[in-house]
Every structure is written in structure tokens, then in C-alpha cells.
């Protein structure tokens, strides 16, 4: 155990996920690498279509094998998942690795009771009897804070409120005490108080069981709350990585700057307009040449020599920190100093 504790629990190396469609090949994920230790949370940030969700569905092996080509390596606790037989993956899913989806109403079956849906995971992986599974489901519902779990266990999803459904979804993901939990925007559809409760719940569970969590979101506020490390994705690639503090306090990539600038500030004046990143996410069918962000990047001219449009910046990571951008360190420091100055005025 002690030796594996030094090893990353999940190690993704040069992951490429390409879909073939009628119009051509969509490069949804194009060379992504990251490591995740036990008991830690990795926040993945990015716009819709940046490849966040695809990455995680691929880790679980839930992509359509007929139309998807997956390259690279996904190692979970030393076990290679890419190309692993379906039976192996079936055994891992819901058991060692579990996923919480965004829209709990659509993601829970309308035809089965909450208790049945939670219990069947337990029965499948732990060989429990119907009665044991039902008791486990009640226990899980209690643990995620659902009142009167003994009677609620027999409800259908449509009889639950939005927050309760999300809790039930979490209970379902956690029923087998998974070691890796992937949460795909689990709080996006919820109001702020429920969101805070669910975040606390996830943190408690992580503290208790040492679960490794991948938290996908486009909400930097949520990242600030839960993540240890942050991975910023753009156009199917990682553009910046680092600890939460590094990425949020001293971001290196213009895209991350844009994300941070587009967030409303609570302590600033109310009438300051939001500052969105111009343009729209790149097409993954025909991604832009060079740096995929360059058509929307305000700093592309600073680099000069049209390098951003021709040369793809290399992601250089040292000690888990790095970004993929042609800007020099001086240019970055200059920009950040400008920002700090502007804030104090």
C-alpha cells in the first residue's frame, strides 16, 4: 500500500479520442495527460465542447466503440483501461470508479425506484441480497442527507426535488465506496445553497474514504472551493495545469486569463460589464492551426512572427505546473502586473 501511495492512482497519458462522423474526424480529445493521487481532487475547467466530458466518459469506457478511436493510456491503480475487455470495465464501473452526471432527472431511470437503482449497483458488485441492498440504499440515502430515507427509498425520481435527486445520484455513485469519483458538473443545475451542501458532502466523503475525485465544471468559483489541482482544457487539449492556487492566483495562459476576467466580481462595482472571451469555441472537426486559441487570443500579436497561427505551443510541465503558450515569462508578468494595478484603481 505504501509504495502505491506514491504512485498516481489514475494516470492518463497522451489520450486521444477521435470520433468519425459523416463530415470527418472530430478530434474531441487530442493528446491529454494528467495524474491524480488518492484523496485528491482534480478540477477540469473549460467551455462546452472542450473535451472535458468526453475525457471522462472515455476513462469509464462509455464511448461508442464503433465510431470512436481511443489512443494513449489510461491507468487506474496500475491497470490499463484502454482496450480492456468489456467484462473488466463492467466490473470496475460503479465499483472502483463511479460517475455523477449533470442532469439527475434525465440520468436517473424514471421507471425504477430510487432504492432499486441504488441497490442494483450494490447487488451487482458486492453480491448482496435484495434485502441487504435495500438496507444499503437506505443507509446511503441517509448519508447524503435525505430525510426519512426508509420511506424515500421507495420513491421514484420524479417524486424527489432537484437537490434530492442529485443527492440520490451521489448516493448511487458512492454505494460501493469507489476509489475514483468523476463528477461531471454535478451542481450546475442546482441553486446555490443546495450546491454548497453537495460540495460539502463530497468533501466529507473524500475525507472519510480517501476517494480521488475528478470534478468537471466551467464554474471557477466551484473550482476554488473543491479542487487541489486544476487542468484547463481548450479545444481538446490541456492549455494550463497547476495547483488551484497557482492557476487562480497567477494564471499563465491567456485563455485562463479570459476565463477569470469573465467572472463577475462580488466586491467590485455592480455596473461593471462582464468581460467575455470574444468568439466561440473552436470546431473540433477543423481545429485552427497552431495554437487552437489564437483566433480568439488578444495576445497573439505580442508573440509576433505569426507563430501562434503556425506553431502549436508545447505544454511543458515541471512539478505539475505549466501551460501551452508562446508568450514569454516576462510578457506574462507584465500582463499580471497590469491587472493588479488596474484592480487597485
Amino acid at each position: 500500500m505504501t509504495s502505491t501511495d506514491q504512485q498516481p492512482f489514475l494516470s492518463v497519458k497522451d489520450l486521444k479520442v477521435h470520433f468519425s462522423t459523416e463530415d470527418g474526424v472530430v478530434k474531441a480529445v487530442d493528446g491529454l495527460s494528467f495524474d491524480l493521487m488518492r484523496g485528491k481532487t482534480l478540477g477540469i475547467v473549460g467551455e462546452s465542447g472542450s473535451g472535458k466530458s468526453v475525457t471522462n466518459l472515455t476513462i469509464l469506457g462509455l464511448h461508442n466503440p464503433d465510431s470512436t478511436a481511443v489512443e494513449g493510456s489510461i491507468e487506474l491503480d496500475g491497470q490499463e483501461l484502454n482496450g480492456a475487455p468489456e467484462k473488466t470495465l463492467e466490473h470496475l464501473r460503479g465499483n472502483k470508479m463511479a460517475m455523477i452526471f449533470q442532469d439527475a432527472l434525465a440520468s436517473l431511470s424514471p421507471y425504477h425506484t430510487i432504492g432499486a437503482q441504488i441497490g442494483e449497483v450494490y447487488r451487482k458488485h458486492k453480491g448482496a441480497s435484495k434485502k441487504e441492498a435495500r438496507e444499503r440504499a437506505i443507509e446511503m440515502l441517509r448519508r447524503v442527507g435525505i430525510p426519512q430515507p426508509e420511506s424515500r427509498v421507495d420513491n421514484y425520481p420524479h417524486e424527489f426535488s432537484g437537490g434530492m435527486r442529485q443527492r440520490a445520484m451521489i448516493a448511487m455513485a458512492l454505494v460501493c465506496d469507489p476509489e475514483l469519483l468523476i463528477a461531471d458538473e454535478p451542481t450546475t443545475a442546482l441553486d446555490v445553497t443546495v450546491q454548497a451542501q453537495i460540495m460539502d458532502l463530497l468533501k466529507d466523503l473524500q475525507r472519510e474514504f480517501g476517494t480521488a475525485i475528478i470534478f468537471i465544471t466551467h464554474d471557477l468559483g466551484v473550482i476554488a472551493d473543491i479542487a487541489d489541482e486544476v487542468l484547463v482544457m481548450y479545444g481538446g487539449r490541456c492549455v494550463e495545469r497547476g495547483t488551484k492556487k497557482e492557476v487562480l492566483r497567477s494564471p499563465q495562459h491567456p485563455y485562463t486569463w479570459g476565463l477569470l476576467a469573465s467572472m463577475p466580481s462580488l466586491d467590485g462595482p455592480v455596473d461593471v460589464p462582464l468581460n467575455p472571451i470574444p468568439g466561440s469555441p473552436p470546431s473540433l472537426l477543423n481545429p485552427p492551426s497552431g495554437c487552437r486559441f489564437h483566433p480568439r487570443c488578444a495576445f497573439a500579436e505580442k508573440v509576433g512572427g505569426n507563430r501562434c497561427a503556425t506553431e502549436s505551443p508545447v505544454l511543458e510541465i515541471t512539478d505539475g505546473r505549466g501551460s501551452a503558450c508562446h508568450l514569454t515569462d516576462e510578457q506574462r508578468t507584465e500582463h499580471l502586473a497590469d491587472l493588479t494595478a488596474a484592480k487597485h484603481h
Binding site: G94, F101, A106, L108, P110, H112, K124
Partner: protein, 326 residues
Amino acid sequence: MFRFLVRRILGAVITLFIISAITFMLFYAVPRDPARMACGKLCTPETLQLIRHNMGIDEALPVQYWHWITGIFLGREYPGFGHCNAPCLGYSFVNREPVLSTIADRFPTTVSLALGSAVVFLIFGIGTGMLAAVKQGKALDKIASSASLVASSMQIYFVGPLALYFLVYQFHILDQPSYNSFLGDPLSWANGLLVPWLVLALIWTANYTRMTRSQLVETLTEDYVRTARAKGMSRRNVFFRFAWRGAMAPIVTIFGIDLGTLLGGAMITEYTFSLQGIGLLSVKSVQTNDLPMLLGIMVITSSFVVIANIIVDAVYGLIDPRIRLA
């Protein structure tokens, strides 16, 4: 559930009254006089008037309708023709027999035809549709989809004679279509109906294949199906317990209505294979202007559709817990 049934049955009765009233009024618009036909060649105005009176068609339309309604509960007397026991749906002056007893005679044929072909098309239609959905985009799916497109554009009066020619007359594989009572001899019942079952089921199989496939293709992309996979459920389990469960509801709905319609008589099939069912009876009644018979058939067959609808709604509530029966 009880409240649901009471409400729906009351609604059904009202619907049937409206259907019978409209049909009654439509027939009044037909410029044919059944008394004239019953009167024969030596017809004096007096006898004509007497026959009209005996038939009950010399009165105003609302009164006639009232007599028809009370006849259902009390029975009715047609002097010079005969007695019609309650429930009396009218008296056929062409057959000289209460409408209901003719329909009751023909009914077993139609029921046998409908239920037998329903079993065939449900098994093959849903089975093929499931296969096509599982093998979506593969060769098997393409074959099944195009075959069902061809089959669903077939007509019974084209396929029927072909089947008769090859399966029965040319190669003697199956028996000449005929109706034998199921209670008398189940084997000859099935043998006699096999060709009509297969021919009628062919077109319906195609429809159910396409419907099952498209429903399943849709539910297979549902988020809850993905969740079930993410929980580690096997493909088979996910397919039957999640995807098929969701696809089932609309299929049950359509099937209920289809079965109701089939019980009203498969006119062309019965005609093609000379099976004396409700469908053929209604064709004949139109030809002979047997209006009371047509009214009776109309009421009986529409009550099947109405009852089928109630059953479908009740079953729907069992399939989908989000639907509350009230």
C-alpha cells in the same frame, strides 16, 4: 385505479352514445327505404305503410333513436318480422334476424384472425426491431430496415393471392384458408387460419419492426441508459431493463389501438380469403343497404377501440410510474 376505471367507463359509454347517434343521423340521410325492399313486387301503399310501422321507421328520427336505445335494455318487438331480445342492437330486415346474433356468429372468425396475427406480428415485429436497434447501422439493421419498408408498402390484396397461389395451390405447404371452431378442433383452427395470419401479420410486422427500432434507438441514447452503463450494468441488462422499458410505452399504446381496430374486422383480409368475419359482414351489409346491421357493427367495433384505449391507459400507468391514473 378504481376511480380511473369508473371515470373512463362512463366516458366510454357517452362516446358510444355519440357515435351511435351520429351514425343514426347519417343513415337517415340515405334515400333508401328498407320497407320498399321488404314489401316486394305486390306492394300496395297500405302494406308499405304497415311494414314501415312494423319496422319502426315511420316515426320521427329522435323517437326512432329512443326506441333503439330502449331496445338495448328492454329488447324489442318487430311485428311481422320477429322478436329481438335485450340487448337488442336492432333487427336486420335483410337477414330477418336480430343484428346481434349475426354479429355474434361472425365474431369468433374475426377474433381468431386478429389475435393470431397479433401474436405473429408482435413476436416478429418487436424481435426484428430489437435486433435492428442493437445492430444499428450494421448490415443486419440495413437489411431489416429496408425489408420492413418494402413489406409495409405491400397490400393484402397483392400478397394474399400470391401466398394462396404459392403456399396453398402450387406447393401445398399450407391449408386452404377456412374457419373452424377453436373449441371443436384447435389444430384445424390453426391450420385453416395460418395463411391469413401470416399475410395479415406481414404488413403489421413491418410496421412494428420500424416502430420498435426507432423507439429503441431513441431510448438507447437517453441519459439514464448511460447512467446504467456507468453503474457497471451489463449491456443485456441495460437493454432490457432500461432501454426497452422506455421504448415499450408508445408501442403498447399503438398496439392497443391496432388490436381494437383489428377486432372490428380485417375487411380486405377476410374478403381475400373468404373468411366470414365482421369485416366481410360489413362489406355485404353496405352492398345490401342493411342499415341496422351497419349501425350494430359500428357500435360494436367502436366499443372495441374505446375499450382498448382504456386498457392501454391502465397498462401505461403500470409501465411508467410518472403517469398517475385519475
